[in-house]
Point group: C2
């Protein structure tokens, strides 16, 4: 197997992006800038997305995954997490044996399980990944070549074979401006439930609450930067984030319970006009937030 | 009384800012730019704040409110809402009879009641106000001369006498770049509970939850723009926002109940893996959020 191990260092000439949404199309743009001679193929089921890809973002586009990865040296799977396993199955069958596959999903435990079942335990053909970058935008129109500049890109190698591949892949990701770090899938999912997935759910809930309240129009007119920032990620893709939350359901529910405890303290203190309790909670919050950045 | 009615149009030569935090100091900076010949006095109980005021932000600073408003033609009261009534009492006694007083508080019902009790019903000496501008910063160091540019500044005249004063004051506020609108105090407070005060509480609760969870440090390291934006206002002043929430307690609790209904739907749907219910809530949320801006 060692002779067939995918090469990532050196000249990469053919990369395929599976799922050309915000992340996939941004990977394509970033690769174009970093590897000007590289041929980039985008695979997406959506005709409008494919039309947007060529020639601005990719050299070719197809809705046929097997065809799209046929001669790829490197594949980024950037489809919704719920569609990963099926994509892996087709790629394992259709891509060259020395093609390296990585993904960009926001959850990692289910991806690691699917990859192990499809590619084998610690297969050098796969390394799970998660670029910590994005925006509330969706689709290739929201893509940016500099989306990963200065941002962390997490890799989750499952063993020593994947660690070697992660080291090679990491060199390429560094050329996209990313800061590469390794993490275990379970640790990843518990953490990101707490500070990404559940906060997305809170922003969605806040938007939904305002949207069907008495002041949905007034909020548009009068709201300041505070509301706009707090709710910005509530504009994110509903199906995408539904998939992420369900995929990481246990950890997300744990973070939800923890958040609800704070909300209970706050509402109880408001009901009883307990100034000290509110101020203590707010002070702990602002102390932490001021330590960020 | 008509002869003693405060003049705002024409040359204003002496303005006093009571409370030189983010908003008060920004008013001072904006006035300096709009009215270069105007003498600006800052009143603040905090020695460090007063030291920061002169000469960069104001011409004089004092901790003696009566002294600070003695010859003022216009007073902006920008102290915390809980301190407004006492400030009004001193100003009513110490300021010239033809001095116009306005405030910058984030709640308006309690301010309107206090102003009526201190200055009298529909007194031409007072108009309640609320500039819809700010940041998570605090104190004069966070002040900006352009904080009000393009932002709405709400005024709450209580009758025809105050409406005339609001029209005059509005001309000055327009010179600070603000877009002036009128609103009833009760309507103001119900609205701002929904799209400002309660969202601040949610951001504080989210920060507090992360802060004492297992991933407080990891969140600092790994968090992306999403978490930073969602929690930004959680860095705001704890005592200031405790005062605002308590001052507008009934409306804030109504908004809290409404938000909790959405949270209940979401958690129940996560518990039962009800994809359709989650996606419906997220879709309603993102539809509204995308209509903002």
């Amino acid at each position: 197997m060692a002779g067939a191990a995918p090469k990532v260092a050196g000249a990469i000439e053919r990369v395929t992006i599976v799922g050309a949404g915000l992340i996939g199309a941004s990977v394509a743009l970033a690769l174009r800038r970093a590897l000007p001679g590289c041929r980039i193929t985008g695979v997406d089921p959506d005709r409008a997305v494919r039309d947007a890809l060529v020639p601005a973002i990719a050299d070719a586009a197809t809705d046929d995954l097997a065809e799209g990865v046929r001669d790829a040296q490197l594949v980024f799977v950037a489809c919704p997490v719920g569609a990963m396993r099926q994509a892996f199955e087709t790629i394992a069958r259709a891509a060259p044996a020395n093609c390296l596959v990585t993904d960009c999903g926001s959850t990692k435990s289910s991806v690691a399980v699917a990859a192990e079942e499809v590619f084998g335990a610690d297969s050098p053909r796969f390394v799970a990944g998660h670029p910590i970058a994005g925006s509330e935008g969706s689709g290739p129109a929201a893509a940016r070549a500099d989306l990963f500049e200065g941002r962390i890109w997490l890799l989750c190698p499952a063993g020593s074979a994947q660690e070697r591949m992660a080291a090679r892949l990491g060199k390429l990701l560094a050329r996209l401006g990313a800061r590469v770090e390794s993490i275990h899938p379970a640790a990843h999912d518990a953490m990101f439930a707490e500070f990404s997935h559940w906060p997305h759910a809170v922003a969605f809930a806040l938007c939904a609450s305002i949207a069907d309240g008495a002041f949905a129009d007034a909020a548009r007119h009068f709201s300041g930067a505070g509301l706009r920032d707090t709710t910005r990620i509530g504009a994110s893709s509903a199906p995408l984030w539904t998939g992420i939350l369900l995929d990481n359901r246990e950890s997300v529910l744990a973070s939800a319970r923890h958040f609800r405890e704070k909300l209970d303290v706050l509402e109880e203190a408001l009901e009883t006009s307990d100034r000290a309790a509110i101020e203590a909670l707010f002070a702990a919050a602002s102390r932490w937030r001021r330590s960020v950045d």
